[in-house]
Symmetry: C2
Subunit: 460 residues, 2 copies
Amino acid sequence: MSAFTLQSLMQQAGGLLPGRDDVARYLQDDSGLQAAGNPLMVLRPATTQEVVAIVQACHREGKRLTVQGGRTGLAGGAVPDPGDVVLSLERMNRVESLDPVGGTVIVQAGVILQDLCRQVEAQDWYFPMDCGARASCQVGGNVATNVGGNRVLRYGTMRELVLGLEVVLPDGTLLTMMNQGLKNNTGVDLKHLFIGTEGTLGIITRAVLRLFPKPRQRHSALVALASSADLPVLLKQARTHLAGLSSFEVMWREYLQAAARVTGLQEPFAGAHPITVLLEIEDWAAQGEDGAEALQRFVEECATRSLVTDAILPQSQAQAAQLWHLRDSIDEILREIRPFVAFDIGLPLRHLEDFLQRTRQRLEALNPQAHQFLFGHLGDGNLHLSTGPYPEGMLLQVESLVYQEVERVGGSISAEHGIGRVKKPFLHHSRSAPELALMRSLRRLIDPDQHLNTGRVIDF
Amino acid sequence: MSAFTLQSLMQQAGGLLPGRDDVARYLQDDSGLQAAGNPLMVLRPATTQEVVAIVQACHREGKRLTVQGGRTGLAGGAVPDPGDVVLSLERMNRVESLDPVGGTVIVQAGVILQDLCRQVEAQDWYFPMDCGARASCQVGGNVATNVGGNRVLRYGTMRELVLGLEVVLPDGTLLTMMNQGLKNNTGVDLKHLFIGTEGTLGIITRAVLRLFPKPRQRHSALVALASSADLPVLLKQARTHLAGLSSFEVMWREYLQAAARVTGLQEPFAGAHPITVLLEIEDWAAQGEDGAEALQRFVEECATRSLVTDAILPQSQAQAAQLWHLRDSIDEILREIRPFVAFDIGLPLRHLEDFLQRTRQRLEALNPQAHQFLFGHLGDGNLHLSTGPYPEGMLLQVESLVYQEVERVGGSISAEHGIGRVKKPFLHHSRSAPELALMRSLRRLIDPDQHLNTGRVIDF
């Protein structure tokens, strides 16, 4: 297929031309960014060979490529530049095979996360990745952005769940690294060049993923704390005493109140507590004690020691789902505070108090009218701060202010959303000059013509 | 320090010259390889700045560097070439700080693994890495070789336990990536270039490691199976029903018998079973059921279903230690079968039976007198096959034969020991031509003068 032209690939690889209504959706992602003009065409290959042919044709014809998964990213990485060839993986959406002996699955990049999870569970296995975009995000995008989500504390980010990858390099080389084992020490583990680099070094076409036995029980509890200073204590207690702890999700008071309002659900507690934590355990020890009892006893012991000041132990799946619905309602909350900035910060827990105090004070000084909503996967040191409304002209100032504070405590300007286009100007707050130099030289090595996802993450 | 010469660094950085008795130990590692001649000098820096100065001086003076940790490697990676400057990290042996809030520790590269584990446990935290060389291997070497060991099933390899690194590049650039969080998506996760690449791309000087709450209980059980075909079934059952499963160590009959003989311990079972599995759980749920009871009930249920044909549940720590002593006695066994080849294979479990049948048959055909001892971390798809004695002239043939079979089932020629010098000629059995090409171009990019650990892993 190496001699195919882009024009001929239009026919073979599900091509769409601008002007058709259905091309509009390829111009944006969930960051709110919108392409400034039309792409040259949208190609939707159905096989790895077609991806190779497209990349080779773009290379020959001097066209730039924008790679798209489910376009659920929050950093603008999937938004094309005018004139780009958009390559969407949506038709490579098959779960190719599940190995029930080794507990692994081979998938094409365009499989939707939720579809994968369901197909795996139907075969009595479990893929633990979960995030808000589950119904439309694609596995290839999950890998390219190293998705995190709600269960990182137990299972790791996507990086830890990927055993092997197949990648098409910017020059069209097919790099097959379909490793299937947990251990493989044969030189550079090349897949890490492509995990979390948002399609700037290659196009992920297939992956081998690690599976787990299906949990027999899943239980949640919502507990209230008197202060965020108690969070690390509760976290260590929960990690120590709750085998199977899978989530440790923190919501600050203003967030929980807003979540109740936008969802129409009742506020879970009668009183207003400064901090609440949603705990989840996935208990595989089906032969042993019931998970609900273990969770209840844990919460009671924390209450006895006054670490926990109030608690809700859901009596049904429906009640547990309501608690998670509160936790997942950030999109609805954001609609109320436009224009906003939504941060995705990683920071050492020991600096949490100090970071919050300074940052909130500075934001208040900047604009006392803006809300500050805080929640996060604190078990992973991942804090989501959403603040608005601000006058449009003030947004950059808000970003700079927060990222200065992140830098001061040695944090990360992106814990799980990635850099894309949106955070590219701020990357130096989290990465040193030698790191940036090495990243640039890697990109120059692998994509010397800079024709893959240009303008994202870092340039050279 | 950038203007220092190697001569002046001899004084400052704990230099040793060949001729002294104590230099002999820097000429070898646990692979059995021995340097063909003396190094130029051995330098033992005490600080990162001294490492930078040494690398810069070598760069300027055109000298090659061999980096050494505890010299416990089994692939010859630490053995210098004649005339090399040997850089030993042994004096950078401090645990710098432990963060009890976030559960992380910052260490210098030369800390001995066992010392680290003890210091961490004294502060009520836990670093779960464990391997046979624990008493002399160093954390920097553990990272550089991505050590695996006995608890990968639960905690991952060293790669999953490293949050951040400090690395000196071959040109003397100091690359500081001391990330402390589980989530950090800010471009290329550069640390993976240095994890498992055995010092060919940079010298690891410090690391941030992830800690876990200290387990309250640890229990083991030894169970016998009728056939290796039952292994995947038992593994999935154990992963499903034993919260806290940390080890799944398999010993074949010939291995267990030899282990009993060389250790002077009694054979654990009266009868000879084809396969035994050593299970370990680390039970954090101290408030819940006793771990020993859970393990006993699990084993009984497996016995009821005839999956397990015999079992030993140790009644004391001492008895459990004896079982682990059997499992850890490979070094003593190897002494009896020289000249031998000890393989460290990764393979998909579904191919285990087929791989073993063909490989054992072919080895027997080659030399019916040679023993074949098999054990492995099968929970990670990691099989150790040790075979000998062979006439010296036949060893290469043995390696080629086994690696052909590994390639046939899509396995890895090194699951955890690495490539070093010993497996370098066989790397193509596990990595494709495009992978090897990319690995070469990375090495050329980062060490264009090829002066760091030359002759290991891959050349360009």
